[in-house]
Symmetry: C4
Subunit: 248 residues, 4 copies
């Protein structure tokens, strides 16, 4: 599991460095050998997640081994989706600044350029209040997680009213790029309203252009780029065990 | 007092690095052992504040020990609030770019997402001109400070027309996170106007979601994050006495 | 060719560092001795392009020497333009954030300040759907490239609906500065709509001001500036052969 | 003159690092001993200006000693203002991104917060086309410089239609802070239009608040802050003679 834990720590930090995650939000990956488990960090800001922070959870979002560390309160988001979407291998929940204005205004995000096609033709908007009334807006109860998973349905992204978004993918690299491209798409869509009325891609274009972003050569190019930027920022690689000892 | 002075220097630098404070603005903390005193830096840009810059003030905003250094002209903001709000343990006054357009337009900021709930359901807007006519807009006289404290009332934030905002909290970490989340909330609210009419959180949601941000595990997560970013920027730790001597 | 390959790698990285290119987009230069060839990187994020990544292509966009590496799918953009525009010595295709809202909204970009005059008086807007119906929006087929080159005509920039822009120039430094100034112009034009209706430069002004940006002293000043910023970011010079070996 | 040349190089770099100047724009200071001369860099991007780049000019904007280096084409802006404004000791001409949308839209900038009071109650808007018809929009001829100086009149800032702005001050530090605060004010004013109609400071407030920014303690605080940020960016101090030799 060491390699996958490292890959997941890297995904956490890339998403933070590219402006999708901040102190909050999280990204998980389904266990490649046991589809009834997923990997997720202990509760920690994603930019700082280290391989040793990665824990295993059942699809009920219980830790496989008893954990003494703090866990993300909203991990049911991940488990609830893995339960009903066998095609989903990775999940990212976030409150990215580019997406939040749409979640606040209750306005749909639609794919407006070829790279944005990866978000799919339609993004459902889930409002926790519809079913649960006044809450703290966090998705912490199993029934809240199931409700969100139902709203997601077969889509790639679900927007969450006054809260954020949840993005799924067939793998860690796909979910990372989809989350980043969702932000670019939202930013361009919002600015396009200053200039006129943006028309979305047509259904056929979404299918054809969406397939491009899944090509291995495209994924390899983006991953090398985001990792190089992260390395230049000083936030990768994570501290070695020796460095961590010294720091304390 | 050394530890608290270091913590306050760190709070200054985090708020500057996260875009709340620039060359101006300040943050104080009430003396933990003597509620009739508070700690505040000498007049210096917050990004550069060092533990040795921290001074003690009475609640009349007079330095406890005669000071030869320049003091913030607006320190009465802090004293006036500590005088009437015994629950307040930390105060931050700022002109954050995300908040200024609201102060200029005289438009209320309202909580529009769960993390923004920490600012409370309603933010009063204080206009110094109402009571004092033409001034330099700084809060320097005791009666100006008292007027601002009255406008703040039992709230967590008061907006100041054509000037900025003042944020209070039950501790240093709470005031730092509230000031940062106020900026995020304002930014999302402003951008949401480009998309439609943002509806604020409901009263019950504000209470429930606001409580989350005060949870120790959440505070620990954000603090570790902001500090790590500050360290990576090179602005923490502050220069050692030896470094300061060399620099001169 | 070594010097020109290094210059092209530098142009790639400057365009990435100044926010024109990200993981995608590419820039090419015509072979100075053989106008029937052009130089372009293998498929790689522009910020990471090294001199060794630079390959030679015929104007049919076939690699001169068989290549085992991944090639940009959209390289016909470059070849198709070099075929019909003998005055063009460099081409840049990009999806810059400042330009995308115009491509999404289908709104023309016009020169609104003296430095922006370099983009020319009128920028044609090409919509791939007009001629080819639903596609993945990439320009990959020779007939798609020829269609784009026709839309470009004698202009300096062509906008591509829901996709991006392609910029041409009489040399590498001209195309780099034109691409960067196009972004500045688009950003100012978009923000000016918040304030009123921006009137473009007059035709005579565009000619006179556009000539200034082509002056060698101006080009030298901008190039020194962008390179210095890139060096400070750590992304120039590219890794030496020894560093690349160690890294692996 | 060495100290003042260093101070002027520092002013150049601070203005570039704080986003007022980019590859273009320039800042000058009047000779403290000879009011008939001023100091200005050779034509170079301000972020890279070194003390050795600083030259002396007559108020006709001719170099005092014959210069073999490239000179700024628009230096008459500086000389023309020094000729008619004996109170002006420093001049900055720029195309800052925050100001450009106003110059493009032809919309006045007004002081909207206390720090913005330093720009004065009214900013004239000069349109080179009114008097000179189609030009390259650069201010290069003496009569163009004189026209601009007339438009500036007794004001602190003059906006230049489709071009930029020119800021004057009683000293180098004042002109630097005025240029930076002009950008903040413009940014807040522009964003306030998204929220409603921003009302400017009253005349009395502009006078009172404007005086605050000229206080030595305020100037010292901002200067220490901007210089510390520049040092952290790696762009100060400028390279030593030894470093420059090695670099070549």
């Amino acid at each position: 599991m060491t390699d996958l834990a490292t890959e997941l720590a890297l995904a956490n930090r890339i998403l933070a460095h590219e402006g999708v995650l901040d102190a909050f939000g999280h990204v998980s990956v389904r266990h490649p050998a046991d589809p009834g488990r997923y990997l997720l960090s202990r509760a920690r800001a994603p930019l700082l997640v280290e391989p040793d922070d990665i824990l295993q959870f059942t699809l009920d979002s219980e830790p496989v081994r008893p954990a003494k560390v703090q866990l993300y309160a909203e991990r049911v988001i991940h488990g609830s989706i893995y339960q009903v979407r066998s095609d989903v291998m990775a999940v990212c929940h976030h409150h990215a600044p580019a997406v939040m204005p749409f979640c606040v205004a209750g306005k749909p995000i639609v794919p407006v350029f070829h790279v944005g096609a990866t978000i799919g033709e339609r993004l459902p908007l889930w409002d926790q209040h519809d079913e649960f009334g006044d809450t703290n807006l966090l998705v912490v109860k199993p029934k809240e997680g199931r409700s969100l998973a139902r709203a997601l349905g077969r889509h790639a992204v679900v927007l969450m009213r006054r809260h954020g978004a949840t993005v799924v993918g067939g793998g860690l690299q796909e979910v990372v790029s989809r989350a980043i491209f969702l932000c670019q798409n939202a930013e361009y869509q919002m600015r396009a309203y200053l200039l006129g009325s943006p028309a979305p891609l047509r259904g056929g274009e979404v299918k054809l252009a969406g397939a491009v972003n899944a090509m291995p050569s495209v994924v390899a190019r983006t991953w090398e780029y985001w990792q190089a930027r992260l390395v230049a920022s000083g936030f990768w690689p994570p501290p070695s065990p020796r460095q961590r000892r010294t720091r304390r």
